[in-house]
C-alpha cells in the first residue's frame, strides 16, 4: 500500500465539519502520486484511508484546534518544523488502526464525538492512578519519577469535590463502591461538609416523586427481609458444603415462601379473619376424622378453607337484618364490611402484589446474571469465575478442585475437537439420536396428557359415597406419580442424547395442569357448589404433591445412598437433582396460585408445606448427598427458573383466575358471589349502590365504563407499550454494533505498536545496507 497518505493536503483544504461522509477532493491526487496503487474506486476502502484521518480531524476540530495551536506555537518556538514531520504523519496514517475504512471510521468518530462531551463533564481522576498508594503495586517504586504522584492530593480533592456534587443517597452509594481502602474512604467522607446519610436508614430523607417512594419502600421491605436473615446459618452450612448450585434451590424456596406469606397475610387480614368473626349459620359439620387432612372433604367442606363458606352480604350491616347472623348485635362500633367486594379485591391485590414482586426479582436476576450465550471466552471465564469462594469444607474443596480440573480438561479437548469437525456419518448419527429423543419426549408428554384425561373423565362419572372419600385421592395420586417419574425418564434421555434441557419436564406439568383446568371449569354441571369442589381438588393436589416430594426424597436419596453403600460398596453418593426439585416447587406454586380464588387458605397450606420441605430437604441433603460434579451455572439457571415461574406458571394461573372472574357464572347456593351473573359484576353493583345513595358521585362510574372497558383505550395503551419495547430493542442493537466496532478498533490499536516496530526495523535495515 505504500506511503500514499495525503493528510497534509487534507489539512490545508479542510472543508466544513459535515457528519456525513463525502469523497475528499484529493482522491484524484492519490492515484497521481502513487503509480503503484490500483485505480481507486468508491468501493476500494483501502485506498481511501486518508479520509478517515480527515474525518477524525473534522469531528474533533474543536478540541484538536486548541491543541494544534499549541503545537504550532511550540514548533515556531523551536524554529523550523521537524524535517520528517510530513513523513511521520504519512506513516501514522498507515497504521492498522487508521486504515479501517470510511464507514467504520465515521461511526466511531461520531460516537467518540457524542460521548466526548459526556466524558469531559466528569472530572474524577482515573482510579487506577489513585490506587497506587492505597494498595501495594510494583509501580510505586517509580514514585519519584512518576509525575502522577505529585498531584495525588489534587486527585483526592477532585474526588471529594465530585462526591459533594452528588445527591446524598448517591453519595453513599458511590462511596461504598469506589475501590479504595476503608481509611481513605473515611477521610473522604470527613471531607464532606454535611454529615453523611446512611443509605439504609429507616427513613428516606430525600424528596422525590411518589413512584420513586414506592420503589424505595419495596426495596426497603426487601432489605428488611434480607436483614432479618432467616436461616442464615443453615444456608451458610449448605453453601459451605455443596456450593452455589445447590444453594440456589434453597434460595428459590425462600423466594416462594415470601410470595406465599404475602398472599396469606393479605387474605388473612381482609377476608379470613373477618369472616371468622362473623360465621354464617351452617348445619353442624360431620365429625373430624384424620382423612380430611388428605382429602379436604368432610368436616373441612364448610369451613374457612373453601370458597363456599364466605357470605355474600355486607357483614355487620347496621341497617339490614343480616341473614348471615351477626352474633353480637350489641357491639359498640358497627363497621359494615362488604364481603364480596373485599373477597374479589383482595384476591386481585394478592395477584398484583405477587406480579410486582416477581417482575422485580426477574429484573434483578436479569441485571445481575443473565447473559445471552456467547461461545468466545469460555475458558477464560471458567478459570476466573469457576472457583466458588463459598465452599469451605475441606472435602468439598477437594471435590471442587477435581471438578474444575475435569471441566478444564473437557474444555481443552472440546476446543481441539472443534478444530477437526465431525465426519458425515457421525453427524448423521448425532442428528438421528436427537430426533429420536425429541420424538420420544413428545410422545410421552402426549401419552401422559391423554391418560390423565381419560382417567379424570372416569373419576368424575363415579360418585363418591360419604365413607369412600379415599377414592377421591386417585387422580391427584396419578398426576403426582407422573410428575415424579417423568423427570427421571427425561434425565435418562438427556444422558443418552448428551444435552440438557430442564424445561422439557415443565411441559408435562403445564400441559397436565391446563387439561385439568379445562376439566374443572366444565364440572359445574356436576357439583352443586362447584367452586368448593374445585378448591377441594386443588387442596388434594397440593397435599399429594407434598407427600410425593417426601417419597421422592426418601427413595431417591436415602434409599439410593443405602443401596450404593451397602450393596454396591461404592463411595459415591447420590447427587442432589437441582432441576427436578426446582420444577417440583414451581408445580406446587402453580397449584397454589390456581387455587387461591377457590380456597383462600391455600397459601397458608403452601407456607406450611414449604417450611417443612426446607428442613426435610436440608436434612436429607446433609445426610445422603454429595456435591454436584457437573458444571451448573447457578446465576443463569436461577434466572431461567424465575422466568419459568413467571411465564407459564404465574401467567397461566392469572389467566385462569381472570377467566373465572370475567366469564364463569358463580354457583347459586354458596359463596360470596351467589346470585350474580359473573364475579366481575360485584364492583358494578357496588358502584350502582353508591350512585343511588349519593347522586353527586355519579362521575365515579365514568371510570370503569370509559377507561377499563373501553377497547380503544386498551389498544392505545398496548400500542404505546409495544412502541417503547421496539425502540429499546433497536437501541440495544445499535449499541451492540458499536461495541463490536470498538472491540475491533482496540485490537487494531494494539497492532499499531507492531506496525511501528516493523517500520523502525525496516528503516534500520535500510540504513545498515546504505552504510
Amino acid at each position: 500500500m505504500g506511503e500514499c497518505g495525503l493528510s497534509t493536503a487534507g489539512r490545508t483544504t479542510r472543508p466544513r465539519a459535515v457528519p456525513e461522509l463525502h469523497v475528499p477532493h484529493s482522491r484524484v491526487g492519490v492515484s497521481a502520486l502513487c503509480p503503484c496503487s490500483q485505480e481507486p474506486s468508491p468501493d476500494n476502502e483501502g485506498a481511501l484511508h486518508s479520509s478517515f484521518c480527515q474525518l477524525i480531524e473534522e469531528q474533533s476540530s474543536l478540541v484538536a484546534g486548541a491543541i494544534e495551536m499549541e503545537l504550532q506555537e511550540r514548533n515556531r518556538e523551536q524554529g523550523e518544523q521537524h524535517p520528517g514531520y510530513a513523513t511521520t504523519l504519512r506513516i501514522l496514517a498507515n497504521m492498522p488502526s487508521r486504515t479501517i475504512g470510511r464507514s467504520r471510521g465515521a461511526i466511531i468518530s461520531q460516537y467518540y464525538n457524542r460521548t466526548a462531551r459526556l466524558r469531559r463533564r466528569s472530572s474524577r481522576p482515573s482510579l487506577q492512578q489513585l490506587n497506587r498508594t492505597a494498595r501495594p503495586s510494583l509501580r510505586q517504586f517509580d514514585l519519584e519519577s512518576d509525575p502522577a504522584h505529585a498531584t495525588l492530593a489534587d486527585k483526592q480533592s477532585l474526588l471529594a469535590k465530585e462526591l459533594l456534587s452528588l445527591p446524598p443517597a448517591q453519595r453513599s452509594q458511590v462511596l461504598m463502591e469506589v475501590p479504595l481502602s476503608l481509611e481513605e474512604k473515611r477521610s473522604l467522607r470527613q471531607k464532606r461538609s454535611t454529615p453523611g446519610l446512611r443509605a439504609h436508614s429507616a427513613e428516606p430523607t430525600f424528596a422525590c416523586a411518589w413512584w420513586q417512594d414506592c420503589i424505595v419502600l419495596v426495596s426497603l421491605f426487601l432489605a428488611l427481609v434480607h436483614a432479618a436473615q432467616p436461616w442464615h446459618y443453615a444456608l451458610k452450612q449448605i453453601s459451605g458444603r455443596f456450593g452455589s448450585s445447590v444453594l440456589s434451590y434453597f434460595l428459590f424456596l425462600k423466594t416462594l415462601l415470601l410470595f406465599n406469606i404475602i398472599s396469606f397475610l393479605l387474605l388473612l387480614v381482609f377476608v379470613v379473619a373477618l369472616q371468622a368473626a362473623y360465621p354464617p349459620a351452617v348445619a353442624s359439620p360431620p365429625p373430624f376424622t384424620g382423612l380430611e387432612l388428605l382429602t379436604g372433604v368432610g368436616s373441612f367442606t364448610h369451613s374457612l378453607l373453601y370458597y363456599g363458606y364466605y357470605s355474600n352480604t355486607t357483614l355487620n350491616d347496621p341497617s339490614a337484618s343480616s341473614p348471615s347472623g351477626s352474633t353480637s348485635p350489641s357491639r359498640a362500633t358497627q363497621l359494615p364490611y362488604n364481603m364480596p367486594l373485599a373477597y374479589m379485591f383482595t384476591i386481585g391485590a394478592s395477584f398484583f402484589a405477587t406480579c410486582i414482586l416477581l417482575m422485580y426479582s426477574m429484573y434483578h436476576s436479569f441485571l445481575k446474571s443473565y447473559r445471552v450465550g456467547s461461545s468466545t471466552g469460555v475458558l477464560a471465564i471458567k478459570i476466573f469465575s469457576a472457583w466458588d469462594f463459598k465452599v469451605v469444607q475441606r472435602h468439598s474443596v477437594k471435590l471442587q478442585s477435581e471438578n474444575i480440573c475435569t471441566q478444564l480438561k473437557e474444555l481443552l479437548a472440546e476446543q481441539r475437537l472443534r478444530s477437526c469437525p465431525l465426519s458425515l456419518p457421525q453427524r448423521l448419527r448425532h442428528i438421528t439420536v436427537l430426533l429420536l429423543a425429541w420424538l420420544l419426549a413428545l410422545g410421552t408428554v402426549l401419552g401422559c396428557v391423554v391418560a390423565v384425561y381419560y382417567f379424570s373423565e372416569h373419576m368424575h362419572t363415579v360418585s363418591t359415597a360419604p365413607g369412600e372419600e379415599g377414592v377421591l385421592l386417585a387422580l391427584p395420586l396419578i398426576v403426582s406419580l407422573l410428575n415424579t417419574l417423568m423427570p427421571h425418564f427425561y434425565n435418562l434421555l438427556a444422558a443418552w442424547e448428551k444435552q440438557d434441557s430442564p424445561a422439557a419436564e415443565v411441559y408435562v406439568a403445564i400441559l397436565v395442569l391446563g387439561l385439568l383446568c379445562y376439566q374443572w371449569l366444565s364440572r359445574r354441571l356436576i357439583c352443586s357448589c362447584w367452586e368448593t369442589c374445585v378448591g377441594q381438588d386443588l387442596y388434594r393436589f397440593v397435599v399429594m404433591d407434598f407427600i410425593f416430594t417426601l417419597l421422592d426424597t426418601g427413595f431417591g436419596e436415602l434409599l439410593w445412598r443405602l443401596i450404593l453403600e451397602k450393596k454396591l460398596k461404592s463411595k459415591r453418593r447420590p447427587e442432589f437433582d437441582i432441576a427436578q426439585n426446582v420444577l417440583e416447587l414451581i408445580y406446587g406454586q402453580t397449584l397454589t396460585w390456581l387455587g387461591v380464588l377457590f380456597a383462600p387458605l391455600l397459601p397458608a397450606v403452601q407456607v406450611l408445606k414449604l417450611l417443612l420441605l426446607f428442613y426435610i430437604k436440608k436434612t436429607s441433603l446433609m445426610q445422603n448427598c454429595q456435591s454436584p460434579s457437573k458444571p451448573w451455572q447457578a446465576s443463569h439457571m436461577s434466572t431461567v427458573f424465575i422466568t419459568l415461574l413467571f411465564f407459564p406458571s404465574f401467567l397461566g394461573a392469572a389467566i385462569f383466575v381472570s377467566y373465572t372472574i370475567w366469564w364463569e357464572k358463580p354457583s347459586e347456593t354458596c359463596g360470596p358471589f351467589r346470585g350474580l351473573q359473573t364475579i366481575y359484576q360485584t364492583p358494578k353493583v357496588w358502584v350502582e349502590l353508591l350512585e343511588e345513595s349519593n347522586p353527586n358521585i355519579a362521575w365515579f362510574s365514568w371510570i370503569p365504563q370509559y377507561l377499563v372497558e373501553n377497547t380503544v383505550f386498551l389498544f392505545f395503551l398496548s400500542g404505546i407499550v409495544l412502541a417503547v419495547i421496539y425502540f429499546n430493542i433497536q437501541v440495544l442493537r445499535g449499541q451492540r454494533r458499536i461495541i463490536c466496532l470498538l472491540e475491533e478498533q482496540i485490537a487494531n490499536e494494539g497492532e499499531d505498536k507492531k506496525f511501528l516496530i516493523q517500520k523502525i526495523h525496516s528503516i534500520y535495515d535500510r540504513k545498515v545496507h546504505c552504510a
Binding site: 501495594p136 510494583l138 436483614a227 471466552g377 475458558l379 469465575s385 480440573c405 480438561k409 446465576s635 434466572t639
Partner: protein, 187 residues
C-alpha cells in the same frame, strides 16, 4: 437495636456503615469474629482507634478461608502493608467486597488484584499458570496448563499485548454470569 455497645463511637459505626455494605448488626458481628481470632490482642474498646494488626497466620486460619487456595493473595490484597497482616479496617473491607451486596465492578477490580500474583497491574502468563495450578491443585500436566493459559490470553486480550490489563479482565468478566455468585464469601 439499642445503643448499648461500647466498642465503637456512634460516629465510627456510622462511618463503617457508610463505607461498607454492612449494617450495624453485621459490623458488630464481624468485630466479634475478628476478636475471636486473637482475644488477647484485640481490645474491646475501639473508640480510641488502637493500632492492632493481626498476623496473616491467624487470618488464614479462619474457617471461611483456611481451605481457599487464594487465601494468601486475598489477605495480601486487602492488607494495608501488602504482607497479609490485617487491621480491623482491612478485615471489614475484605468481607464487604466479598459480600453479596458488592457490585460487579468492585468485585472485578479486587479479583484482578488477587489473580495478579506479581503485582505489576497486569495478569501475565506466569500469573495465569499460578492461578490454574492453584485451582486444580497441580493435577494438570504442564503442557495442558500452558495451553490453557495461551488460550485464555488469546480469548481475553483485546489490545494484543500478551497480557491481561484491568480493562481486558473487566470486559471479560462482564460476560461471566456466575462471577457475582462465586466471588462471594458468606460470613
Amino acid at each position: 437495636m439499642g445503643n448499648k455497645q461500647t466498642i465503637f463511637t456512634p460516629e465510627q459505626l456510622d462511618a463503617y456503615q457508610d463505607c461498607t455494605f454492612f449494617t450495624r448488626k453485621e459490623i458488630l458481628r464481624l468485630f466479634y469474629r475478628y476478636r475471636d481470632l486473637a482475644p488477647q490482642l484485640v481490645p474491646l474498646d475501639y473508640t480510641s482507634k488502637p493500632n492492632v494488626t493481626l498476623p496473616y497466620e491467624l487470618i488464614g486460619s479462619m474457617p471461611e478461608l483456611k481451605d481457599n487456595p487464594f487465601r494468601q493473595r486475598i489477605a495480601e490484597v486487602f492488607s494495608e502493608s501488602g504482607d497479609g497482616n490485617m487491621t480491623l479496617d482491612d478485615f471489614l473491607d475484605m468481607f464487604s467486597v466479598l459480600s453479596e451486596m458488592a457490585p460487579r465492578d468492585l468485585k472485578a477490580y479486587y479479583a484482578f488484584k488477587i489473580y495478579d500474583f506479581n503485582n505489576d497491574d497486569y495478569i501475565c502468563k506466569s500469573d495465569l499458570e499460578k492461578t490454574v495450578n492453584k485451582l486444580t491443585r497441580n493435577e494438570l500436566t504442564p503442557e495442558e496448563v500452558s495451553l490453557a493459559c495461551e488460550k485464555v490470553i488469546y480469548e481475553a486480550d483485546l489490545d494484543n499485548d500478551g497480557k491481561l490489563s484491568l480493562e481486558d479482565f473487566q470486559h471479560m468478566i462482564i460476560r461471566a454470569p456466575d462471577f457475582l455468585s462465586t466471588f462471594h464469601i458468606r460470613i
